[in-house]
């Protein structure tokens, strides 16, 4: 048995035996003799370059080569941990960072790495222990101290402790005012219009940072921050210009083809035809727990999730991507006439039946929340593409489609710097508009073919204007009795790990409706595309 986690070949992060066998190469490698150190340095430098280029597979190959020479190479382990983190395989990343922390007890970077993993796993108490422990250390430099406070900010925010989160971000900002991530968080979540003099100061500071910034990612992040600051100052023209530049900056490094997306949506509609949904009887899982919240981002999903999960019989797994990943990477079905199975089988060869995937997810819910929970929400954004399959394999599941006034939804998307490349359509008015139209087409299709006892539409505006009435309606749809706790959702301490973490700690308000009206003069193109869509 090696002390090291082997090379993990599964994209989904869940291995079965056959897959695990493929990882034996590392075990073999560990038994070989050590070689010359300078060769390791060269390999490591190459691996590092590949990591920053996000070429994770060749990078992983080099890491394996390094292990053949030195099975305990700290740098290689850290790279492996970071890659696993970037790929969302947090369980693996956790193991590696834990081992790194054991090897170098005092190294704050490994502790911060582990804390970030815990944050992604929604294990906030563990994350808090790590970050809070580091804030007392006197030997940290400003940048590390800033990262520590930033980690604590995110933890507190997710725990619903806005006061402590505010204090932590102040400290983070104090230590590293030049860190664009910290500045973005500070501007997005904590600055309010009331802090006008401070806002001006931040605008100037951000502009100065932007001028000096070299990397694309940093430039776009600062651009989003600047747009937010201008908006708080009610200077919509400059705000929009800053946003436009930030989006262009971000967009140039992302792949998105609106034609391809239109075809993808059409292929889903073609495959999961009414005929498919009524004629075939796929086996699945009878669980009544799953509830899928279907939407575009920034549509009020987190609000709805928090309201519903305040109910003692309802829980949530947030934007858990296990199910989406399994469907997207391991499900496959034969062509039906001309219609080819639209979901991409990314990992060539491996395969799970739709039924097995349903069981994997039921297993996950069972382990995470126990059998006594009546309904368990999942609001992973890609679920919207899988409704047809989910309806077949979870006949007792419920789908709630939440939608919001298009311009509010889309401008909120446009102003958000989504993590990584998750929403690549969101940085260009034309692409955003076309994506929305295709999304709407898919939603209208699902609504037309999924029976009303399984599918429910709700608008964000209705939900915030008459929450009790609409929540009662949704609960009835879920066969669950009314509970007033749903209206007191902002007092609960349930975990939130999305861009809406701060908003949902406030009581119900309608401030977000028409919030983006200041941008209206600049978005004619978007409005035209939306009108075409109608």
């Amino acid at each position: 048995m090696t002390s090291r986690t082997p090379n993990f070949p599964s994209q989904a992060g869940f291995l079965n035996l056959a897959q695990a066998q493929e990882s034996e190469t590392l075990l073999e490698a560990l038994s070989k003799n050590k070689e010359d150190g300078s060769q390791i340095d060269q390999l490591y430098k190459k691996a590092l370059t590949l990591y920053f280029q996000k070429d994770y597979q060749p990078c992983t190959n080099l890491i394996n080569d390094i292990y053949k020479i030195d099975p305990d190479h700290i740098g290689a382990m850290e790279l492996q941990g970071m890659i696993a983190y970037e790929q969302g395989r947090y369980e693996i990343s956790e193991i590696i960072y834990t081992q790194l922390c054991e090897k170098e007890l005092e190294n704050p970077d490994f502790k911060i790495g582990l804390g970030e993993v815990y944050l992604r796993q929604s294990r906030f108490d563990l994350a808090e222990n790590i970050f809070a422990g580091l804030t007392d250390r006197k030997d940290l430099d400003d940048a590390t101290r800033g990262k520590t406070w930033f980690g604590l900010t995110k933890t507190k925010l997710s725990q619903g402790n806005l006061k402590d989160a505010g204090q932590a971000i102040e400290n983070a900002y104090k230590n590293t005012p030049q860190d664009s991530d910290i500045l973005y968080m500070y501007a997005t979540f904590f600055l309010k219009k009331e802090n006008a003099p401070e806002i001006e100061k931040h605008i100037e500071a951000t502009k100065a940072l932007l001028e000096k910034a070299e990397e694309d990612e940093e430039k776009s992040l600062l651009g989003f921050t600047l747009a937010r600051l201008y908006m708080l100052a009610e200077n919509y023209e400059d705000s929009y210009r800053a946003l436009e530049a930030a989006c262009a900056q971000k967009r140039q490094n992302l792949y998105y083809d609106p034609d391809e997306f239109s075809e993808y949506v059409q292929s889903i509609i073609d495959y999961f035809s009414e005929d498919f949904l009524t004629k075939y009887r796929l086996a699945g899982h009878e669980s009544t727990q799953p509830v899928f919240i279907i939407s575009l981002p920034r549509s009020g999903t987190t609000l709805l999730e928090q309201m519903l999960s305040a109910h003692p019989e309802i829980d949530t797994v947030g934007e858990n991507t296990l199910l989406s990943m399994l469907i997207d990477t391991q499900s496959y079905m034969p062509p039906l006439g001309e219609a080819v199975y639209p979901l991409r089988l990314r990992k060539k060869g491996t395969f799970l039946t739709a039924e097995a995937i349903a069981h994997e997810y039921a297993n996950y819910l069972y382990n995470k929340k126990g059998p006594q929970t009546g309904r368990i929400l999942n609001k992973s954004l890609s679920l919207r593409f899988f409704v047809g399959l989910l309806y077949k394999v979870f006949p007792n599941a419920r789908f709630i489609h939440i939608h919001r006034a298009p311009l509010d939804c889309l401008l909120s998307c446009l102003s958000t710097n989504f993590t990584g490349n998750t929403q690549p359509y969101s940085y260009d008015l034309e692409e955003l508009g076309r994506h929305y139209n295709d999304h709407q087409k898919l939603m209208r299709y699902w609504e037309s073919v999924i029976p009303a006892e399984s599918w429910k539409n709700i608008s964000y505006e209705d939900l915030v204007s008459a929450p009790e009435q609409h929540l009662k309606d949704i609960l009835e749809f879920l066969n669950i009795d009314w509970n007033p706790a749903c209206l007191e959702f902002h007092k609960q301490k349930k975990e939130v790990n999305t861009a809406s973490a701060a908003q949902v700690r406030e009581s119900i308000h309608q401030k977000a409706i028409g919030k983006w009206s200041g941008y209206l003069p600049y978005i004619t193109k978007l409005k035209n595309i939306l009108e075409d869509g109608i």
Partner: protein
């Protein structure tokens, strides 16, 4: 059969590996398994199952692991692994039966049941059942999971269960609410065995009133009791109106009423390819119409896809389609046609194929003799265990050959005269007894076989797994038509058809050894006359069937693209040693 896990609160052993990641657990499990420390390996797989009680890949892994274990004494860990893993839908469970049975026979909890089985093993008259004492055994989920997932291929166990069933029927006032899980599990078991247990006249008479009562009262206990004797879709479809939410009861209704109902609906979608005119074909059809045969439950899913295989495949005599849907799942772009005489089997096949998402199969009802009318040819034609049931197998073979594309290949399986001798002897004796082939007569005959002296040649058929399921038993000894071949006859037949023998399929290494020993100088293992000499000395070696590949003589060196793609997938081997746990 998928949702029973919900019913259990697992009584897990102490856990030692909570801090290990899932990946590390698998890695450790493999290492210990490979080094022969199976029980330690079990600890790791147990921890995995605990974390993922619904996970199909892990259940499958657990069953592979457990099949290698030999238990000399009761091991609670094995019991726990089996308890969870036997709910798998994608594994072969029959291999685990011996271990399950050994566990049942050594578990102290099951002492009362062991004692009862002991009476039948010793061929003694069993005492009156002490139900309160026996309940500790009957209420154990371990017994339930065995009943719902495996054939109880052990006559004393079957006799004990028959005796218990009779007790419940004749002492209905003793039945309690908490007996429901057991009765449902026994009902499910009996449904899959097609009610092969012996039923006395007294039971038959009593049953009538229970059926009437179940129909009106919709009492789940009465319904489950009826389901232990007769399929509910025939005798008590009203059971669907019963209000119980008990998971086992719901599964009983699903298996005994809802699924047969779906099969009836699906019949309308299965086109008739040809008329069935031949008298023997009609007789065979009648035999298979009564029950779908074989009534398989779980599919072994190979977790690999071969999307480049877009070949046309004909399964002539697909029965209930287990192999057909397995092929369709692995080759999702292949176009597969399944033909069978029995609509009952075909509708079962179609339901199961849909369950697994094997949607690239066209099922047709038709007679192989009339296949020449099928306006399509195929890269691979598979016809396993079918031709030998035809009046003129050669005519059938000719008909399927007409559907073979140039350069295509055939997978054929036929009975061996030498390999089937023990059955032939039993069949001859049974034929002299003039047994009718209706369900009641077969049930009564089964009982008389069980009661026979162990030295009686007929008694040997109780060692076949087929003995324990009504249709399989009927197929084993009462088939209306059966032609057996020697390899010499096979060679002659193939000569007449212009076919060349390309090798036996899926043979394990040890089965080639006698050939290599007898003919060390032979260049290959393709000489059927030599194989015949080998078989004469080793008559058991083809006791199931000759499974082989053939093609047109003038096309030995020509393989068409469609078949080549199938070969390249590596899933089939001929005249080669097979490896892998779950190779077809």
């Amino acid at each position: 059969m998928s949702d029973f896990s919900y019913t259990y609160t697992f009584d897990l052993p102490q856990r030692h590996y909570e801090n290990l990641s899932r990946t590390n657990l698998i890695s450790l499990f493999q290492q210990y398994l490979e080094s022969g420390e199976t029980h330690k390996a079990l600890g790791f797989i147990m921890e995995l199952l605990h974390r993922a009680p619904f996970s199909e890949p892990y259940k499958k892994d657990a069953l592979v692991c457990i099949s290698k274990v030999v238990a000399n004494e009761f091991n609670p860990l094995i019991k726990n692994v089996l308890l969870i893993a036997l709910t798998s839908r994608t594994s072969t469970k029959e291999r685990s039966f011996i271990l399950w049975q050994d566990t049942l026979h050594t578990d102290p909890l099951h002492k009362p049941l062991q004692d009862l089985i002991g009476y039948f093993e010793d061929r003694k008259e069993p005492p009156e059942i002490d139900l309160p004492a026996l309940r500790q055994s009957l209420h154990d989920p371990f017994l339930h999971v065995g009943l719902i997932s495996m054939v109880m291929a052990h006559t004393p166990t079957e006799q004990a269960l028959t005796y218990i069933r009779r007790y419940f029927l004749m002492n209905q006032d003793q039945i309690q609410e908490d007996d429901l899980d057991f009765l449902c599990a026994l009902g499910i078991h009996n449904f899959f065995c097609e009610y092969s247990f012996h039923e006395s006249e007294e039971e038959t008479q009593t049953l009538e009133s229970v059926i009437a009562e179940a129909k009106t009262s919709k009492d789940p206990l009465k319904i489950a009791l009826v389901g232990c004797y007769t399929p509910l879709h025939k005798t008590c479809p009203e059971a669907l109106e019963a209000l119980s939410t008990n998971t086992f009861f719901q599964s009983l209704l699903k298996i005994q009423i809802k699924e047969p109902h779906i099969e009836r609906e699906l019949r309308a979608d299965i086109p008739k390819l040809t008329d069935i005119k031949d008298d023997v074909s009609k007789n065979v059809q009648d035999m298979y119409e009564e029950n779908p045969y074989p009534r398989w439950r779980d599919q072994v899913i190979i977790p690999r896809l071969y999307t480049d295989v877009d070949s046309d495949i004909l399964i002539a005599g697909c029965g209930t389609g287990k192999f057909t849907s397995q092929l369709a799942l692995m080759y999702p772009h292949a176009k597969i046609t399944g033909v069978d005489l029995s609509m009952s089997s075909l509708s079962y096949a179609k339901r199961k194929a849909q369950e697994y998402g094997a949607l690239n199969i066209d099922f047709h009802q038709g007679d192989i003799l009339e296949l020449t009318k099928l306006d399509k040819t195929f890269d691979l034609v598979e016809c396993s265990g079918v031709l030998h049931h035809m009046k003129d197998p050669e005519a059938g073979w000719k008909a399927i050959l007409s559907r073979l594309r140039p350069g295509g290949r055939m997978f054929i399986a036929l009975y061996s005269e030498l390999g089937r001798q023990p059955i032939v002897k039993a069949r001859e004796k049974i034929a002299q007894m003039d047994i009718q082939t209706d369900a009641t007569s077969i049930r009564n005959f089964r009982k008389s076989v069980i009661d026979m002296d162990v030295d009686n040649p007929i008694y040997s058929i109780t060692f076949f797994r087929d003995f324990f399921t009504l249709s399989e038993f009927r197929d084993l000894v009462f088939h209306v038509q059966e032609k057996r071949y020697t390899l010499l006859e096979l060679e002659e037949t193939m000569d007449r058809l212009g076919l060349a023998f390309l090798g036996f399929r899926e043979m394990k290494e040890e089965r080639f050894k006698p050939y290599k020993t007898m003919f060390p100088e032979a260049e290959n293992q393709l000489d059927l006359q030599k194989w015949h000499a080998v078989e004469e000395k080793n008559p058991d070696m083809f006791k199931s069937m000759y499974q082989f590949v053939c093609c047109r003589k003038d096309e030995i060196d020509i393989v068409n693209t469609g078949f080549e793609k199938i070969v390249n997938s590596g899933l089939f081997t001929f005249n080669e040693i097979i490896t892998g746990e779950d190779m077809i």
